[in-house]
């Protein structure tokens, strides 16, 4: 295995921990609600899935608990911002702090324990493709799930009535209301599903990738996910590209060092952020931006 291949493999598995929450944030923001509580949803998902997997020994229950943990944070955010008209930024940050505190209290007893992380499943046939095979098709189940999710989200956004309603809610909620839709319900659903994906991203980190729990283990990657959505101009395929780019540059920093390459380490540390920012900013200037017009706007119960 050479260094480049190794970097790409690490980039895809590490990048998935950014991709899943970023996809969730994308759904939420397309409905008009920023969720800075994504970091908190990831923590809740990481701990929920780890605790459930350890106590039940069943990885599927663990994955479900991860989604549920994130969705719970999302529900709280939805209630505060949509139903109560609270400020989206303030609510998101509060929920992040709350999740950090609660997971630290309940997670402490799991610190220092390990479980066997999700094993990689080589897809028959596909994993033998030179280059792409080992990188894309010898990963764990949550990585495969993320491939499908990108496709499903793209399809729902642009090819279905549900997606149209979702996007309309983020742009002109009054139009949705006028046509008999319920913008608030759309937002509540979008935030909850989105934060559920944030929880799944946390699960990919704790039970998928590293196989243990540590307080505040997401180290700010939930905020990276929010930033990726912004710089990806709210478009699913670009979100995928941004998350992988971040993961790949992050992995490259380790691989370069392990090969004894001499590069300024502080630059290496900044590279994932810099590279993602520059590339996505360059692309954002080209095509149109899909900034939802009604982003961060509080809606009344009638949707206006």
């Amino acid at each position: 295995m050479n260094g480049i291949e190794q970097t790409l493999i690490g980039g895809v598995s590490g990048g998935t921990s950014i991709l899943l929450p970023a996809l969730g944030e994308l759904i939420s923001e397309r409905a008009g609600v920023i969720n800075l509580g994504t970091e908190g949803a990831m923590l809740a998902g990481a701990l929920g899935s780890y605790a459930m997997t350890q106590s039940s020994g069943n990885i599927w229950l663990g994955i479900a608990a991860g989604i549920a943990g994130g969705a719970l944070v999302g529900l709280a955010h939805a209630w505060l911002t949509v139903r109560r008209g609270g400020d989206q930024i303030a609510s998101g940050l509060l929920l992040w702090f709350l999740a950090l505190g609660v997971t630290s209290v309940y997670g402490t007893s799991y610190v220092g324990t390990v479980i066997t992380p999700l094993s990689n499943i080589a897809i028959p046939g596909l994993h033998n493709i030179p280059w792409a095979g080992p990188i894309l098709f010898d990963q764990d189940i949550l990585v495969y799930a993320s491939y499908f999710l990108v496709g499903i989200i793209w399809f729902v956004f642009y090819r279905t009535r549900v997606g149209l309603t979702l996007r309309a809610t983020g742009e002109r909620p009054e139009v949705v209301a006028a046509t008999g839709g319920k913008p608030q319900l759309v937002q509540i659903a979008a935030i909850t599903i989105g934060a559920g994906l944030g929880g799944l991203g946390g699960a990919q980190l704790s039970i998928g990738y590293v196989g243990n729990w540590f307080n505040d283990m997401t180290s700010g990657y939930g905020f990276v996910a929010v930033a990726v959505v912004l710089f990806a101009a709210w478009r699913p395929v670009r979100v995928l590209a941004g998350a992988y780019l971040f993961g790949i540059v992050l992995a490259a920093a380790s691989v370069l060092q392990a090969h004894g390459v001499s590069i300024n380490q502080y630059l290496l540390d900044a590279m994932p952020y810099l590279a993602t920012l520059i590339v996505l900013a360059l692309f954002a200037r080209r095509g149109r931006s899909d900034t939802p017009e009604a982003l961060t706007r509080s809606l009344s119960r009638s949707g206006t």
């Binding site: 402490t108 390990v114 990738y209 283990m217 691989v255 300024n264 380490q265």
Partner: protein, 385 residues
């Protein structure tokens, strides 16, 4: 005005959330306090311990907490109070003040970043004896201040011997956080230990710029394993990720901070584990006797193998380490305990070929504490600022 009413309700809820967070924090911070042992009988003397992380982090902070509880158990005249999750800012000064208000005569500030606050607090409170764990004072000491630490690199070099003895690829992987001299000394000692049993062994470095970031640790471990390393070790606050990565890949691991053999019985070789209780007990005794001023603890105290008081000890051997190698390592441990012995005994050469220690010479602790060169056999560079 439904919206403004909603806003008000949201404001109230936000306050409720803040209160909930505060409760969560204080309950975790207070768990140490409620764990304080002994009744508040008047004869008891109060000793306080302040920790930067959780008192059950399975690492550095838990070792501090466990030793503080042992002190309370071993010395019935001492009442121990603790506070954990105290950040390295003014909060530590407030914590020290509240401990003094509760009658604390001796305070142990156990995180590296507490140093300036502890020193300042000592100067302002001459009647309280303040100890700092890990700091090194190059200036004058007030009569009520001291630092203490141990020659961490000694057991690390023994771990290096185990790694060097068992590697088949002659590549050892070291995941570290920051290029501080304590870490550089550990990296060098690890490589020197490995070379002593296997001259071909090389140590490969990856840093994470974070004391505990599992995602980066995993990437680092994967990169080192991909490079061919078959033994991993680390200088991180949390070690589960690297152990798990080594276990999943069927590689060996040398631990740091605590004995984690149970996490990976077949991959665990050995490691370094903190045992602070003897130092805490010795310092507390001197401090409460009234003989602290001018004692060896009213200075930069450094425990070592040679003085038989190193707080960092060699952890247990895993079943993969053959008995012949085990006895080689314990023989070296015994040798290091002789007066004048040192891991850093020349000749030792830096990566660039310059001499670190000339033949027959040994480095002083002050020199090791300012070390900046990686020894020959270490692959990788340190970040330049």
């Amino acid at each position: 005005m439904p919206i403004s009413r909603n806003r008000r309700v949201a404001g109230v809820l936000a306050l409720a959330l803040v209160a909930a967070v505060a409760t969560a924090c204080s309950s975790s911070g207070g768990s140490g306090g409620s764990g304080s042992s002994g009744s508040s009988s008047t004869a008891k003397q109060t000793v306080g311990f302040i920790m930067v992380g959780s008192n059950s982090d399975y690492g550095y902070n838990e070792a501090v907490y466990a030793a503080s509880q042992k002190l309370a158990k071993d010395d019935p005249s001492v009442k121990v109070i603790t506070a954990d999750n105290i950040p390295e800012n003014n909060a530590v000064t407030q914590t020290m003040q509240s401990m003094v208000d509760k009658g604390a005569k001796v305070i142990f500030a156990t995180s590296y970043g507490y140093y300036a606050y502890a020193q300042k607090f000592a100067a302002a409170h001459p009647k309280v004896i303040v100890l700092h764990q890990g700091g090194f004072n190059t200036g004058k000491f007030t009569a009520n201040f001291g630092t203490y630490w141990g020659q961490a690199f000694e057991p690390v070099s023994l771990g290096g011997m185990a790694a060097g003895g068992l590697t088949k690829t002659n590549k050892l992987g070291f995941v570290y956080a920051f290029p501080i001299s304590q870490t550089i000394a550990n990296i060098d000692a690890f490589e020197l230990g490995a070379q002593s049993v296997n001259p071909a062994a090389k140590t490969y470095l990856v840093n994470t710029s974070n004391w505990c970031d599992p995602l980066k640790q995993k990437e680092a471990a994967a990169a080192l394993i991909g490079e061919g390393a078959d033994v991993l070790t680390q200088h991180q606050d949390c070690q589960a990720t690297v152990i798990q990565a080594a276990k999943a890949a069927g590689k060996y691991v040398v631990g740091y901070h605590y004995d984690a053999e149970s996490l990976d019985p077949s991959g665990w070789l050995t490691g370094s584990a903190w045992d602070w209780a003897p130092i805490y007990e010795a310092i507390t005794k001197v401090a409460l006797d009234g003989t602290f001023a001018g004692s060896k603890y009213n200075a930069n105290f450094v425990g070592s193998f040679q003085d038989n008081d190193n707080p960092l000890t060699l952890a247990s051997f895993g079943k993969s380490v053959p008995t012949s190698l085990q006895s080689k390592i314990t023989a070296e441990e015994t040798a290091l305990k002789k007066p004048g012995a040192s891991v850093f005994t020349g000749p030792i050469t830096c990566q660039d070929g310059t001499t670190l220690v000339a033949a027959g010479k040994t480095m002083t602790y002050a020199q090791i504490n300012a070390i900046s060169c990686l020894v020959k056999g270490v692959v990788g560079t340190l970040p330049k600022s």
